[in-house]
Point group: D2
Chain length 301, copies 4
């Protein structure tokens, strides 16, 4: 009977890298949570305990911080690509490196009607995410970039229905003509190339997602996700595919009849658990093969 | 040896009340987390098990939802006062009622440059809080109102020092001329009366807190909190006192010297634990007696 | 109009102190979360920004770690008292010091039927807590000790009812003859003196709490808490009072009738929010004045 | 340019199913968190908005509760298989169904030296997990069962080193001869068949994991994980492969030298972030193809 090492990866998770640019009195702030993973031929580390091929996670951490200075941060994508290349170079037995970044958004604090030079307030309306996979080296180098957003909590108070669904003997749900629809959206999209204006692309796609959510009638969360994805792919030729993970944050109409009150879509209870969970991919026919792009990316089908 | 019941309270916590106004096509949304507590003469419930004087927490929940319709929600303070009065009326053995509300902020989703009529995105830059205590009845009725904000995460990249502190044999901290200062602010302020434009007062005080944080030099978080409080009391005669609870969210300069790199306040690690925790009250000399206003309010000295 | 500093405190929160005793090959492990707060005359730090009287929170952290070695940890109470005394001594303008400790429990991993010498598994069945307040100095020194437990999640599948309660027009709850009762108990008890075998006292009181919960019939969570408190005070003359904070973790019977199934107390849904929250104190008539013992202790009336 | 729906799934997440057996006065308690996902041909739901093929997540929830009664719960695996089969049958356009279950462990409360009949205390030393995938129907039905454990927090105070690792210009880590090693283990193992005594198998594998962690010397977390996996596969012919996800919960030795104190592996600070994250698979050569077994299972390479 043979027993052997299968798929494996290791790295340093959740390096809280904060990068300040203070070249002028108007400071810039990048607030990142950086995780790195190396994959490759690390059998010895597992089977014999030899660490000779292992670039320690502590070194990966140091590199993440050093690269915030040496390479700098103009976008999480650009920083992640540079860091991933460096780690692949530093670990000869690694075959690929994944770098995941979350970027927390900060606004300038308004003082006298203007944003302050060096004081910031953290915005909570969604977190920008990046997952970059660098594989192989030299002429065969391949870079897959996933950009995305998570914790984008959106809600519409009307223009959402759910009816005409399949019924069986365990069905008790009533059809709904007009309901609250809400979700905490996770979306990730894969780029065709690495030649992109990352910040502009991110801002435009985020805006598109919000607009479609707001402005289209919804027959189900599935339909709304698909429309979002379709619109993003139509408007952004740089995007090969987009994946969504969307909890249906149920808001149940409260029965006020026992108290002699009408409730015409006015009073709801926001429920915690259970929740529907809808996950979908919208993809371009000519999308290139994803390779390892989606490997070990959390929360996706 | 005598054993007896001491201080006690009971109620329903975390009712997730969502109230939609849809009188016009431009919907309004109030997203609340409501907790109620009754205090009073409930010895029988504890000692003999008789529930004859106990208004069930389930009824308190029903009342919270019904009042979102019957009384309506124009501000969390106004709603909490009405709910507190009702519960005190409904439970003859209660001597006081505390209603705590958190209000989650939502923005309209921008579509074509305008905020949408019925689609919203949740903002995460701080949560509005209220704690109302209604005590006694009839002519002796007394209402204490605490307004506040929590989870207001702010950071300044300069204009903050910490030096000249007391030293002993366990001191290793170096003096800092220029550091990042960051906190997740909790502030609660007590009103002099119930005759206030709650929403306008909240918006103005929140703006004042942010402005002082941004625009004043800081010799310590203590000084900054005091300045915030002083400015609020000076500008808002409706406020009797204000209390702060402020974790010092440490950002440590990363040592890049081993890698041949300078770090002039550019690369930091955001630390989790431990953290400094600074709590302070700024109070007006003529502030009236708080009574039970601060009783059982979380996170305050 | 005068504005002044009111109540205030500052310190270092959540020092994760892990103390290992390795005098023999059978190691001992104390896993602590330590928070310290100084209270006193710190007006200058707030009003003028002078830190001359301020023992930095960084120094408090250093002292917490150094005392784990210098004084050692035989119980969280004993360690907290020593640390509190030291901090009061080190900060001449402090009038009192509060030290709060959470102790996470670990079991030895069973190997061949015996607990291992140096390998442990973390137990999650409740966390031991301590809050010690040391006030004044020298001959007038006063030490208040609160021991406790939190996150003690208990459930009984029968022997619990809830009926005969007060009804009003918002009441819809049905009386229950037989229900699940569950809570995540927080209890803290105040000691009469500092002359106690802390570990033995803790173990005995924890066992008493559990036994009363299990073995007594419950007409309401209030009654059960009172019985627990009464039994603790009767059996433990070292305890002056005990306070409880107990969420009623509702388990609702699921309606299976639409599916042609009976549900005789067999299938429940465990709900998240809202939840009842019951808080009560049981106190001995001759309990000494608590002074600042309960000041700023989280989650208590 | 063609745009189309790619991989997708939907279901109800986190149904908190609590099942009590009360046939005798000695009650049995199963406390489950159940999530279901359907995958298949659901293009219409996404593209045209038609829900005619969609078995609502609400119905999936009802089925989860009804099956706790109709089929019953003897083990989470057995229950998940039954529920998965039912959902596949109920949704003709589904091609596969995944059912994920977490089971929270409860002990009987000790009263007079014996475990009580109907009162329980929740244990926190790890959560049992199951992920079952049922695909295809009738003669081609295929069932993949992953059993596992998560949140198994273990620590050893010695018998762990980390040295001989690869070094580059970003390396500052010192070699360690004797350190604390701790992790919060996630392990999932895939069964060869569905003919297993699920509860006995789980208990034995969990015990094996703990024993290997405790009793073997560690040259790195990688080596320890591999040894655990090897031992499980050697001892359990019913297991085809096992996967681990293990954060390295760093415990850093505190420098007490500035205070004139030695620290011989006695005082540590338990760090939060960043942390190493080690993931590895140990697999049997003759393991059958996993199919969709690992698809969308959180936290795995």
């Amino acid at each position: 009977m043979g027993i052997r090492l299968g798929a494996n990866q290791y790295g340093k998770a959740e390096n809280r890298v904060v990068r300040v640019y203070r070249e002028s009195s108007r400071h810039e702030l990048y607030d990142l949570n950086v995780s790195t993973s190396l994959r490759g031929e690390f059998t010895a580390a597992h089977v014999t305990g030899s660490q000779a091929d292992v670039l320690p996670t502590d070194t990966q951490k140091n590199t993440a911080f050093a690269y915030a200075k040496r390479h700098g941060v103009s976008s999480p994508e650009d920083y992640a690509i540079a860091l991933g290349r460096r780690l692949l170079e530093a670990a000869p037995r690694a075959q690929s490196v994944q770098v995941r970044v979350e970027q927390y958004a900060w606004d300038r604090i308004p003082v006298g009607g203007e944003g302050h030079d060096h004081a910031f307030i953290r915005r909570g309306d969604g977190t920008r995410t990046v997952a970059v996979t660098v594989s192989d080296r030299d002429a065969r180098e391949r870079i897959a970039v996933l950009s995305g957003v998570c914790d984008l909590v959106v809600l519409k108070t009307t223009a959402s229905e759910f009816k005409g669904f399949l019924k069986d003997e365990y069905t008790t749900l009533k059809e709904a003509d007009d309901r609250i629809m809400a979700t905490s959206l996770v979306a990730r999209w894969r780029h065709m190339t690495t030649e992109t204006d990352w910040n502009a692309s991110y801002a435009a796609i985020r805006a598109t997602l919000l607009e479609v959510f707001a402005a289209t009638y919804s027959r189900a969360l599935q339909e709304t996700l698909y429309l979002m994805g379709q619109r993003v792919l139509e408007a952004h030729s740089e995007v090969a595919e987009i994946r969504f993970s969307a909890p249906n944050k149920h808001h149940f109409l409260v029965d006020l009849e026992p108290f002699g009150l009408e409730n015409n879509g006015e009073v709801f209870i926001a429920a915690d658990r259970p929740y529907g969970l809808i996950e979908a991919t919208v993809i371009r026919d000519e999308a290139p093969d994803p390779g390892e792009a989606w490997l070990a990316v959390p929360a996706f089908t």
